[in-house]
Amino acid sequence: MPGTAPGMSGQSLRWRLLRAVFATAFLVWGLIAILSYGQARHEAEELMDGHLAQSARLLLALIRDNESHLADLATRLALARSSEDRPYESPLEFQIGRADGSLLLRSEYAPASSLAAAPGYENIAHHGHPWRVLTIAAPSDDYRVQVAQSIDLRDRAALEVASKTVLPIALISPLLLLLIYFSVRRGLKPLDDLAADVAARSPENLKPLARRTAPREVQPLLAALNRLLARLADALDKERRFTADAAHELRTPLAVVKVQAQVAQLSRNPDDRQHALQQIVCGADRAARVLEQLLRLARLDPLAELPSAGKVDLGELARRLLVETAVTADAGSVHLQASATPLLVRGDGELLEIVLRNLLDNALRYTPPGTQVTLFVQRRNGDILLGVADDGPGVAPEELSRLAERFYRGRDAHAEGSGLGLAIVQRIAELHAACLEVENLSGGGFEARLRWVGSAGVP
């Protein structure tokens, strides 16, 4: 593939395919060569054996006719043999004798094989070369004829026949390989196209890849890729929104600080200046609070589990927080409703304190002055609950589900706040395997709580 740079891990699919096809092709050619050689050899062998048998019978016939002139026959045979010098007519050596093994006549180079051996074919070594020997006996069993021929020639012939079969294939093999190469390339082109499509994309383009033109085999991969792209786009979108919201939440207090600073500079009225300076301080506080919440969320976000978990007594936690709150908040309006027995959960005390603080902060911030706020820790139906309730105006029902969204603030909320408080609570709840529940109370008011479902607490 074009995208497969050298040194890139993972094998090229094309080369794997090509290697496999090439290897198969070579294997098949090799087999063809071996088989055709074997076949040719077999044919040549039969041919040769036939030839030997024919020659032997011929000799036998000659002997019968020339019994009295055997010496003469030898000379004529020698003459006939030496006159021929053709590649496929290897010299036929022979021995002629009687059944008792006595030799009557032999050609010059005939192997010295015993004539007394049982009639039939035999492979022997003669002058370091393999020979094929045929011994036959006359029907009356008075004469024996042995003919012998070198096998080298036979093998050479077989090889030649085999090579004539294989050679054309070998000669067109480059063409074949080329064809295979292009076929594989063509076959894999949809993959290349896909790779090119992905490579040509800008990083912002997370639209699904077109699946219509892709081959069926790639469809599952494409589907998985598209699912991943969708998830990525979603995450990126969230990230972008988060950044925009964070920027907005930071810009607003900064804008407050700047505009009030300029008002303080330009104003000649001491009261106005004092007010503006006061607002600058508030604006800076607000920016600091937003930053703190953002950082808290950023630290909580990557956590897969609580960094330091221990036993936390929720009642104790709530009591401590109430004492602290009494100093800063309108003490009369916050009450505690905690069970007398300690309610223990496994968790991080500091984080759970943040939960209570944020819930309490929301209850005080988004309700009219004089609202009764209750901090409660209790066991209800086997679940452990930790939360804050108020008797204020409640929250619009359609907004309930969005409350824990980052930067979401009620549509009519004029009170300043980062919109991160409940998001942080939600995250801490997740880390504690608890769920965050928010609801309008039937008797009026609003309640937000953490629920440890069916929790027996910590023994």
């Binding site: 810009r251 607003t252 407050v256 009030q260 300029q262 008002v263 549509r411 009519d412 300043e416």
Partner: protein, 220 residues
């Protein structure tokens, strides 16, 4: 000069209002889109400073509706949304200017001056009539080259009259231009300021059109 400020953030709205008051604008401040829509229906403003992310009704929707009614009020969008796409959307929806938070108060004032000036059909920043010159940027008024010290209300009244040189301005129009909500005072205050302006700029500088209101004298 009366301006509508639409800003849902309490602290920021407080700052902007204070900053605009320093430039002697009468500022009506509303906190949500719906209130903005109603205020724009009921009152005459010289300009509007509009936030986009608003409760109840988005700023862009307020703006679009205003333009659909054919209201040419100069609108400056003041928002934390700083992307080009947002700016384009805002300007295309009918805004005359776009400023992002955090902003410079002096720049906001200058941009408003420019918007109001152009809405009045003049290209020169200095307003002039019969030897009286008013510079909105420095808020200095001169008569025949001599500086004339004016109170904030006197200045605002003179600015209004100079901005509508060709028109008769009724007492209620002048009142509306001078005062923000909750500032309305006695029924004869406009007459008081007219009287003081005549003392400083010449008795016949402002003419009374009986039964209708006031206009700058154009016989000289």
């Amino acid at each position: 000069m009366r301006i509508l400020l639409v800003e849902d953030d309490v602290m920021l709205g407080d700052g902007i209002r204070a900053g605009l008051k320093l430039a002697d604008y009468a500022v009506d401040w509303v906190h949500d889109g719906e209130a903005a829509r109603l205020a724009l229906l009921d009152h005459a403003y010289q300009a509007c400073v509009l936030d986009l992310g608003l409760p109840k009704r988005d700023g862009l929707s307020v703006l679009k509706e205003l333009r659909q009614r054919g209201n040419p009020l100069p609108i400056l969008i003041l928002t934390a949304r700083d992307s080009s796409a947002d700016k384009i959307a805002g300007l295309d929806a009918g805004a005359d200017d776009y400023l992002t938070k955090p902003f410079d108060l002096l720049e906001l004032q200058a941009r408003l001056r420019a918007l109001i000036r152009r809405a009045g059909g003049t290209s020169t920043p200095i307003l002039e009539h019969a030897g009286v010159m008013l510079d909105p940027a420095s808020k200095r008024v001169t008569r025949d080259g001599q500086p004339v010290p004016l109170s904030a209300r006197e200045y605002a009244l003179l600015h209004d009259l100079l901005s509508h040189k060709q028109h008769i301005r009724s007492r209620s129009q002048l009142e509306e231009s001078l005062y923000a909500w909750g500032e309305e005072t006695g029924s004869n205050t406009v007459e008081v300021y007219i009287h003081q302006l005549r003392k400083k700029l010449g008795a016949d500088f402002i003419r009374t059109v009986r039964g209708l209101g006031y206009r700058l004298d154009d016989t000289r």
